[in-house]
Amino acid sequence: MAHLLEVRDLVTRFYTEDGTVHAVNGISYTLDEGESLGIVGESGSGKTVGVLSLMGLIPDPPGRVERGEVFFAGNDLLKLSADQLRDIRGREIAMIFQDPMTSLNPVLTVGYQIAEIMRPHLNLSQEEIAERTVELMELVGIPNAASRRKDFPHQFSGGQRQRIMIAMSLACNPSVLIADEPTTALDVTIQAQIIDLVKRLSQQFGMATIWITHDLGVVAGLVNRVIVMYSGFIVESATVLDLYKNTSHPYTLGLLQSLPSLHTTIAADRLIPIEGAPPDLLQEPVHCPFAPRCQFAVEQCWQENPPLQRVASNHDSACWRWQDVRAATE
């Protein structure tokens, strides 16, 4: 069966005054119907740019999708006209953004902003749109939705705003939902509620989801498969369990070690941060981008950037020394 979404060799760069930023360097992955995929990486790893690229949301200038194919329902999204792509955005692929504080337009009512997504995509009358807006708001758990429809974003708490974002993204019943760190800006207590909400609703509506996060812990219970990104490359890709158990990339290892876990009993002093600064994206990647921070780095890592290679069934890693890494975790 064809994949719902297939990304092949996607390259996105930003041309800035300081030089060319190599944000995404040839990533490929797939997403099946109803599947949920996690993309994990630290700031600047290209995880967000990667999904924005396929949505056609990279601001040009300075950004440009240089290369690659993104098949969705048989079409290459990158080859569609602006109008065709617009028709897919919001209707087929919807997105929830990181910061609900800044992602809602402060001068428009939330009702308008939810209704807005339905107008071009659904053939509904004004009344029906208004009705559905209220339904959606109720669905995501906004009390007094009918009256609060006319309120502005600043009249809602952060969590509520994210719920509104979710309501918005669900409005057209998309087949793919991309959630870009939807909880990082929220209080810890709210985080769980929101994650739960998205999870519940995506299952209810049968949507495939892509979770973008820098927090491996978050995706653990959420997704089937995880992609780890570093410096615009996919460095490891595996099922969640496999990734935890058979970690095959030193960066993933670092992420796991810096993670306080509720399930394990690692003491705080045993959390190990990843040393060194994040990579300089302005440099043309010639060697392994993680090499400067890598405790496993050897001469080869400085000579050649390791390709993503299959290390086990459904498990890929881009490390010359993946076996050593895997051995080290055991």
Partner: protein, 312 residues
Amino acid sequence: MSRTRPQAAKGGSAASVGAEVAGPADDWLVVSRSPVRRAAARFFRDPLAVTGLAIMALIILITLIAPQLYSWDEIINVSNATKLLPPSAAHPFGTDNLGRDQLGRVLWGGRESLRAGYLVVLIGLGGGTILGLISGFAGGWVDNLIQRFVDVLLAIPGILLALSVVGALGPGLVQVMLAVGLANIPDYTRLIRGSVLEAKENEYVRAARVLGASNGRIMFRHILPNVIGPILVYATLGLGIAIMITAGLSYLGLGAQPPSPEWGAMLNLGREFMRHAWWMPVFPGLAIVIAVLSINLVGDGLQDAINPKLRK
């Protein structure tokens, strides 16, 4: 082993992609120096801004050497024989209605126009900065009082201020510019107050306060360096506007006194002859356009350098 290890990423230069800018450190020197240096680097990489700066420097240089090229007698001596001559090799900018060489006058005029422009900006900037800082920082009744004062100043037409200053001090460009500078204070006050209110909420100001820094120290060491950027930009624009104002005031007989070849006065004189001798208004007008343009280019360059978000 000679490998090129990547340097630590240059500050927040990749900020536009989403990397977070490092929070400012506590010592303002550290805070300000590096952004200033980076802004300067950005400024000098902008060809338009550098061109503007070069033209400005050239204008200043030319006006400085003008007295070597033309004597004051040549500037003021009238002659019927050379009246209203179109541009020629002898008089590249033509001659005016009293037979004076316009090139010489334009060169000399730059001295007065630029000096007047700087004076206006200095007064407006100085007064406005102090009032704005106090107003924004102190808040409460002090703020209220200053804001009402600014309202009053804004509500009184600048021309009345200009007339009263000239009435008291006698006519002359400097006197009028003093008044125009005064009239500019409200603009700067408002601008600076707004920035101060914003800056006051910043973490590092709170931090400084927690650490027990005095008000004066916070105001001048922590807030001022952070609000000065937009003000400098506004000031460069104000310089251009000030030169334009001299033309308007000459229309009313205020400002530079004859036979001073101040650009605004020349432009105003040219108005009477615009249908008979195009070169009379056009050359001083061009001088103003070029000066204003260069100042604006510098201003834009500064704006872009300080706030790279708006870059082209």
